[in-house]
């Protein structure tokens, strides 16, 4: 699906605030404490999080919104809860400079915003954080997956999709159905045929 400005894209939801008077798109947002550029994200349950602008750019959805000039006031994210957004913001902070998306940032660089933002390989510490990040129960993992999908954040997507795949790998077919709430709609004969076809994989 195209993520262009004209379509009913998710960034629409972000542009709820009135356009700030006198500010043109692409103008750098406000400066926070210590001269850092920060934006404020607001969860559906009204929790606000101050995020380094460069960290927020890991999300294509947020980047589009910022580039559209709506990074001045708190940016509402009605479909993310406070606890989920807190985790996501922490991951963005830890993934600062992650090459999985930093390359993309360099391409869209505007006004030298990212010049101090050199990509670096994920360290063992980051990998450890990622593991810890997805050590959550099923519903929390699904919340994170949905958040990753909505925010279009490659690093977050990688970490959460990998965790969901790990769950699938460690379960039998029956357990997978139970875990993901899926109904077996095969006839017994069909299922037996499928299992027979690649018997080695089921051993």
């Amino acid at each position: 699906m195209s993520s262009g400005d004209s379509g009913p894209s998710s960034s629409k939801q972000l542009v709820q605030q009135p356009a700030a008077a006198g500010r043109s798109p692409n103008q750098p947002p406000l400066l926070g404490a210590g001269g850092r550029k920060v934006i404020v994200l607001k969860s559906g349950d009204e929790e606000e999080f101050e995020v380094d602008l460069l960290d927020a750019m890991q999300s294509r959805t947020l980047r589009r919104a910022i580039e559209d000039g709506c990074g001045d006031g708190p940016m509402p994210l009605p479909n993310l809860t406070g606890p989920v957004l807190a985790k996501v913001v922490e991951l963005f902070r830890r993934h600062r400079g992650d090459p999985r998306w930093a390359d993309e940032l360099q391409e869209t660089e505007k006004e030298g915003m990212f010049k101090d933002y050199a990509p670096q390989k994920p360290t063992a510490e980051v990998k450890g954080f990622d593991r810890e990040f997805v050590s959550v129960d099923r519903d929390a993992l699904f919340d994170l997956l949905r958040a990753a999908n909505f925010l279009e954040a490659p690093g977050l997507l990688d970490v959460t999709c990998d965790a969901a795949a790990d769950a699938v790998m460690n379960m039998t077919v029956e357990e997978v159905r139970e875990y993901f709430g899926l109904v077996n709609d095969y006839t017994p004969e069909e299922e037996a045929a499928l299992r027979k076809q690649h018997e080695w994989a089921f051993q």
Binding site: F142, L145, A148, D162, A164, F180, Y186, L194
Partner: protein
């Protein structure tokens, strides 16, 4: 597909257990792209929606383009022993990632003449097998499909396969050689389904050993005299690599590629007995094989047992399997961490009639194994 991926879930189901209906299909495709082939196949049995997604063209291209688990060992199978002669032939496959054995069926022969007689070469998911009647088949043992290919041109009954290069959906190539008074090579290409003469080398060798493919060059060791030979797959050009062979007498040599470099594993013989099993790395600049490790003594003692005059070595993705041919004792080593371990005992009974060693390291792949149609067409024309 009945699910509308982009529609939001009804609010009343918010507290219900999450299901695929509530995650867009493209997100599931991303999740599935992190699965090894074996789990993809198992996951098809979950429900029709998963089956349809996992068989879909978008997922296939996503999986082929970004193999997230490319470096993982999940699906690595060491097919170590096989009973080719039985009514239900199978190979005993060891999976290092799980330290488990499974039985991989070998195609049941339609008649006695068409049963697998000998497997000449393997690569990727494929094996090149000679049938009892002398015909050749290329078989994907995981998918259980194969097709007959034209036999290689035999020079006084002396041609043998040196290597099979499986390029997945792009097809495969087989390199065969004869080494009578010189090396003469022929290549089978699955695109054309033809054997073509490609390259020769003026050198007399008793035999060429196992081959290892590195950056489009097939390397192999010649025996009597011992040299390292290189065969350019594209040009068909042979050359002798300028490298001093290890000074000691190396028996049971095995060539392998690991971390983008060439390695040699072999035994050092002392008084008719193998006293050390050594690993060398090719040092291209110094033009010599540099010792980079050996089987620890206490493991060697146990591996050797009472006596060992021969052992097999098998490798894939940096995992090496050693097999003492006298006792069938197995020892594994992961070269990436230099971790050694004794695999679980093979639970299958396989008749020890001399055909039990199979010795091929394979990995399953997704997608159809094609070529048979082309071959049929070629045969008629």
């Amino acid at each position: 597909m009945k699910t509308d991926a982009s529609s939001p879930p009804p609010p009343s189901e918010e507290a219900a257990s999450p299901s695929m209906e509530r995650l867009p299909v493209h997100l599931w495709e991303q999740v599935f792209s992190f699965l090894p082939v074996s789990t993809v196949l198992v996951s098809r049995a979950v429900c029709r929606l998963w089956d349809a997604t996992l068989r879909s063209a978008p997922f296939s291209s996503l999986y082929a383009a970004a193999p997230a688990r490319h470096e993982q060992l999940d699906d690595l199978h060491f097919l170590l022993f096989a009973d080719l002669g039985s009514a239900a032939p199978f190979a005993a496959a060891y999976r290092p990632s799980q330290d488990r054995w499974s039985a991989l069926p070998i195609p049941r022969p339609a008649c006695a003449a068409s049963c697998f007689h000998r497997v000449h070469a393997s690569g990727g998911a494929l094996v090149l097998a000679e049938q009892k009647n002398g015909s050749f088949v290329v078989h994907d043992l995981f998918a259980g499909v194969g097709h007959e290919i034209a036999p290689m041109v035999s020079l006084q009954g002396q041609s043998y396969a040196l290597g099979l290069i499986d390029n997945g959906q792009l097809g495969y190539k087989i390199v065969a050689v004869s080494t009578l008074d010189r090396v003469v090579s022929q290549v089978f290409d699955s695109e054309t389904c033809l054997w073509t003469w490609k390259g020769e080398f003026l050198g007399r060798f008793a035999v060429l050993g196992n081959s290892a493919n590195l950056h489009g060059v097939l390397y192999c060791l010649s025996r009597a005299p011992d040299h390292l030979l290189a065969y350019e797959l594209d040009s068909g050009e042979w050359s002798l690599v300028d490298v001093a062979m290890p000074p000691s007498c190396v028996v049971c040599p095995h060539l392998l590629v690991h971390r983008g470099a060439l390695f040699l594993i072999g035994g050092e013989e002392e008084g008719g007995d193998i006293s050390r099993i050594v690993m060398w790395e090719l040092d291209g600049r110094e033009k010599r094989w540099r010792v980079c490790g050996c089987m620890p003594d206490e493991l060697l003692q146990e591996f050797r047992g009472q006596r060992m005059n021969h052992f097999y070595t098998l490798d894939r993705k940096g995992v090496v399997c050693f097999c003492n041919t006298s006792s069938n004792v197995l020892l594994m080593c992961d070269l990436r961490s230099m971790r050694w371990w004794w695999p679980k005992k093979c639970p299958f009974l396989i008749s020890a009639d001399g055909h039990s060693w199979f010795g091929h390291a394979l990995e399953p792949r997704l997608g159809d194994f094609r070529c048979s149609v082309q071959f049929a067409r070629h045969q008629k024309s």
